[in-house]
Symmetry: C2
Subunit: 190 residues, 2 copies
DNA sequence: CTCCCAACCGAACGATCGTTAGTATGAGCC
DNA sequence: GGCTCATACTAACGATCGTTCGGTTGGGAG
């Protein structure tokens, strides 16, 4: 692993723990075991490290969606999307934490780009629910906006309670079952 | 409104927008229209302002739960709890934003107390779902932990998309309907 | 052996941070 | 008029911030 990657990883760890503004370049240098001035051989500035983290995060989350076969039923794609999202969060908890919490400290231009990327992700999720309704898998009066919002709430909040090593597939399936079948009725009638 | 309350409100606004570490005492003083040294006639330190915000937040959220009659069916209490939570978020968006995002910057002792308060809130929600299951309103195989987690995810994520003035009761009911009846089956069979 | 080059050091920069101290103003009360 | 008290000002404090820069180091390539 290159020194630059070391740096980015340690930065993500500290940003997740103390926040972007709560993490000083000096503290980061200490964590690496180097004088703070030395960091500038690898980065242009502190913003670089935040941006790098966000870029990796966006890639990871979109990548998880990309791995889902287009041909599957919409409900199955929803289940796999939830699995994928939770897996990314658990596998790269610090990355996910920064991704959800610290994006607003990107400088203006980069923040705009980030928000656009996130919108695109949300739209991909919303599309799954619309698809499920239109193809008769989900109830015909389903509001895809509310459904997607509930999905994304569960997904985006996961960094607060998920721990590395958790069985994210089982957790995702539990969430999925609740979303699809509800808390009142009995599970999937045959 | 007292000067101190002005200060707390403006601090919450800035903390919500820029984060605790991203908001300087100087910027806060500017927003009030006063020299930064003058603030110390009203506060002991910057931490005070954060703590004050958290205290108000905890009070608001617990207060919303307190207003729910104990005698109602569990499912109805769940619906009202969701209504209450979203109403607090929409009515005091900046307060809620700081409450969810900035609590980790409290100093150690206060943070511990905050986390305990939040745990208590989560436990109150979990209890509602357990009650619903035990009294036969909700399915007998319901995992109250997963159910409460889904509820709290929707509730805690709301600050990111809710806007002041929204019809939070309608939104809460839409969430509630989805949670209880699911996305697949048709709504409440008669 | 020499040269290169990435990595790092050590010191310093100006800016900004949260906080303190001493003083001034002005309204309300006796 | 004298007194208190909340409010605010000005100036400065030491600490820390992100960043810059000239010099040093050490291992690999030629």
């Amino acid at each position: 692993m290159s020194r630059r990657e070391d740096l980015a990883r340690e930065a993500a760890r500290l940003f997740a723990e103390k926040g972007y503004h709560g993490t000083s370049i000096g503290a980061l240098a200490d964590a690496i075991g180097v004088q703070k001035g030395s960091l500038y051989a690898h980065i242009e500035g502190k913003q670089d490290l935040l941006y790098e983290t966000m870029r990796q995060g966006a890639e990871a989350f979109h990548g998880a969606l990309d791995g889902i076969p287009e041909a599957l039923p919409a409900t199955e794609k929803i289940r796999l999307a939830l699995r994928g999202h939770l897996r990314v969060v658990a596998d790269q908890l610090e990355l996910a934490t920064v991704f959800v919490q610290e994006w607003r400290y990107l400088d203006d231009e980069r923040r705009d780009r980030f928000v656009a990327e996130r919108r695109r992700y949300e739209e991909r999720i919303r599309t799954l629910f619309r698809e499920g309704r239109e193809q008769g898998e989900l109830r015909s009066d389903l509001d895809e906006n509310v459904a997607a919002l509930l999905f994304l709430s569960a997904a985006n909040w996961a960094f607060t309670w998920l721990r590395a090593g958790a069985d994210t597939d089982a957790l995702a399936d539990a969430f999925y079952a609740l979303l699809v079948d509800g808390m009142r009725g009995y599970s999937t009638p045959a």
